[in-house]
């Protein structure tokens, strides 16, 4: 335990001793299964992956940014040297693994062999992390996860207080809104990105309003409510497993029907796909069904549980940012577009779109990596900025916090003239509030 904590210390303040080659070899060996072996050996160096990568495209097709080059220079080299690497080598890897890849998995779609390059990058991140080499911004969040179970270090008391406060506040707009905490047997257990209760509690309020109007049976857990998983991107597999398992365990303890995730991209990747393996579940399936907000909102709209006031549909041209982990890696791209059809009058799809849409550049841990990486994030985001500009849209809708932040930053950097909205924001504004939910003082219409 102590060794792992040491390895997790902020790079630059931890010991700069020699690399623990034995530990590196252990990790390499653990990863050296049939898939990794075959991928590393089979890459025919055809170069088709290059054009798939927005880093490559944004930096004038610098061949050093092709996915094959990136994994060969990192994990490939680690295996070639049989783990006998030095700190300087790992620092160079750090630059590539975190600075030049968001693990968006677009390259896997363009490789003739279907090599899962993101998995190779993640394995290499694990090696770097074990030696205390990880972006400082990410390392800081890990301390919070360890101490409080959530990224922002929010205490249980503060969290429950926030829930109570938001329930009260939104009671002014929607009658009967509650945010039930730890309700056993609820149909949905809602988990969120900690920046919501911490900085944007109105997000939680909006979600509560929507679920109330839809007549949903739901709860929020007092622990295991953080569905984000930055350890997953930091290369700290054991901690990533603990974080997601805390959420699964709470859902099982409460006996809820399904886990509902907020509009977050990598939360879906963590909860639905990587999580079961991180948490050591042999069959690779989450113990409780995972539902992303995009899926639920789509079902509400489709089934008429939430109806949109036509007068309140977005009139300005709007486009949809496909979060990598919701669209390409989550399969929910059509649902997102169907939601857009309900909410907007002038929808302009990006090119390319759906599962082929480009990563915004903010995922894979990039946004939390902080100011020292911002310059690069803005440079590689040029591809996304160009895509947005080409649509002529004034609004970008995206069900992912990282895309939200990244596109807001890109908007300023590239003067795109757009505003970014989450789906729940729009639904909350535009939904028809039935009589029984209107606050008592108002006689007609809701604010």
């Amino acid at each position: 335990m102590a060794a792992t904590e040491q390895a997790g210390t902020v790079a630059g303040t931890g010991e700069k001793g020699p690399v623990d080659v034995k530990r590196v070899r252990e990790i390499l060996d653990a990863n050296n299964g049939a898939r990794v072996r075959t991928w590393l050996n089979l890459c025919a160096r055809c170069g088709l992956c290059a054009e798939s990568c927005f880093f490559y495209l944004a930096h004038n097709r610098d061949p050093r940014l092709s996915p094959a080059y990136k994994f060969k220079k990192t994990l490939g080299e680690m295996y070639r040297r049989k783990g006998r690497v030095d700190r300087a080598f790992l620092e160079r890897c750090h630059d590539i693994l975190w600075g030049e890849c968001t693990t968006c998995k677009r390259c896997s779609m363009y490789c003739p062999f279907g090599i899962d390059i993101a998995t190779l990058i993640a394995a290499a991140r694990g090696v770097c992390y074990s030696q205390g080499i990880v972006p400082e911004g990410l390392a800081r969040t890990l301390v919070n996860y360890r101490e409080t179970g959530n990224q922002m270090g929010m205490s249980v008391e503060d969290f429950i207080e926030t829930c109570e406060w938001m329930a009260e506040e939104t009671g002014d707009e929607i009658r009967g809104v509650t945010i039930p905490v730890d309700k056993a047997g609820a149909a949905y257990m809602y988990t969120m990105n900690p920046r919501e209760p911490m900085f944007y509690p109105q997000d939680l309020g909006m979600l509560a309003q929507i679920l109330t109007v839809a007549g949903e049976d739901w709860t929020v857990p007092s622990t295991g409510w953080d569905c984000t998983n930055l350890p997953m991107f930091a290369g700290d597999r054991p901690l990533a497993g603990k974080v997601v398992k805390a959420m699964y365990d709470k859902a099982l303890e409460l006996g809820v029907g399904k886990i509902l995730l907020t509009e977050c991209g990598h939360a879906y990747r963590s909860a639905a796909f990587e999580g079961p393996y991180l948490a050591g579940i042999p069959d690779g399936k989450p113990p409780v069904e995972i539902v992303h907000s995009v899926r639920l909102f789509y079902e509400y709209l489709r089934d008429g549980r939430i109806r949109i006031d036509p007068a309140k549909k977005l009139k300005e041209p709007a486009t949809y940012q496909d979060p990598c982990n919701v669209s390409r890696n989550g399969g929910l791209w059509e649902e997102g577009r169907k939601i857009m059809a309900y909410l907007t009058e002038d929808f302009r799809d990006m090119t390319p779109n759906r599962e082929h849409n480009h990563c915004c550049g903010g995922g894979g841990g990039y946004i939390p990596m902080g100011p020292e990486f911002k310059g690069r994030r803005m440079a590689s985001g040029r591809v996304k900025a160009d895509q947005i500009r080409e649509t002529g849209a004034r609004i970008v809708v995206t069900p992912c916090h990282n895309c939200f932040d990244q596109i807001n930053d890109l908007n300023k950097e590239y003067e795109l003239g757009v505003r970014v909205l989450s789906i729940k924001e729009i639904i909350c504004e535009a939904m028809i509030v039935p009589e029984e939910f209107l606050p008592e003082q108002e006689e007609e219409g809701a604010e």
Binding site: N32, A34, T38, L42, R45, S52, M109, G114, D116
Partner: protein, 219 residues
């Protein structure tokens, strides 16, 4: 020279085919055993339908977005592979030998076709070589081994064509033909050329991973 020729047309053939098939069986068996322990993710989400879709979209020319982005390369690449397989399997000269040895052979294409397809093969191989040299994102990845394997792959076709048309000293050309083919067969299971078999496995996996698990596509 004669004894070398006799060796290559006798034991050499047996050895190279034995290593080719045995090497593949060995490698696949090893990977299978390893996967049962370390890659359960492959079996947890296996789906024949998604495996076939994932494989199929990449067996058809321009079947994936990636191939459509580089249509000329895709054409050359498919021609390269189709002729690579078609000529050795359906060339009359080879089938005569099979028939003599085992009283069984495959269909033989007209010799004129074999000539034409061999030329197509060599032209497409030249294109692939030129591409490797010309495109920066390919050149930066390319190793000496890549150039060597590509050249080695063309040698059986070049020397075979020469032998059929009696260009150059016949016995020397035939020895080169046999040697290059047999070395190639021996190397295939152990190098990136192992994609002969492994393509199907890695593609099936990504089909399971993206398709079966997420309803998403890997093409």
């Amino acid at each position: 020279m004669n004894s070398l020729y006799l060796f290559l047309t006798g034991p050499g053939v047996w050895i190279s085919f034995f290593v080719f098939f045995g090497g593949f069986i060995g490698r696949l068996a090893f990977l299978y055993g390893l996967s049962l322990e370390r890659d359960r993710i492959v079996y947890n989400h296996a789906s024949p339908a998604w495996g076939i879709k994932s494989i199929g979209h990449w067996l058809l020319p321009w079947g994936s977005a990636s191939m459509r982005l580089q249509p000329v390369f895709t054409a050359a690449f498919f021609l390269f592979h189709l002729t690579l397989l078609a000529v050795p399997l359906f060339f009359s000269g080879h089938n005569i030998l099979w028939d003599e040895a085992f009283h069984w052979s495959l269909w033989s294409m007209p010799d004129g076709w074999a000539d034409a397809l061999t030329v197509v093969f060599l032209l497409s191989a030249a294109f692939l070589l030129a591409r490797r040299l010309a495109r920066p994102e390919v050149r930066i990845l390319t190793t000496a081994g890549d150039y060597a394997l590509l050249v080695l792959t063309t040698l059986p076709f070049l020397t075979g064509f020469m032998a059929v048309h009696h260009w150059g000293p016949y016995e020397a050309v035939m020895i080169l033909h046999l040697l290059s083919s047999e070395i190639l067969l021996i190397l295939i299971p152990f190098t990136k050329l192992g994609h002969v078999a492994l393509f199907f496995f890695t593609r099936a996996f990504i089909g399971f991973e993206m398709g079966s698990r997420r309803g998403a596509r890997a093409w």
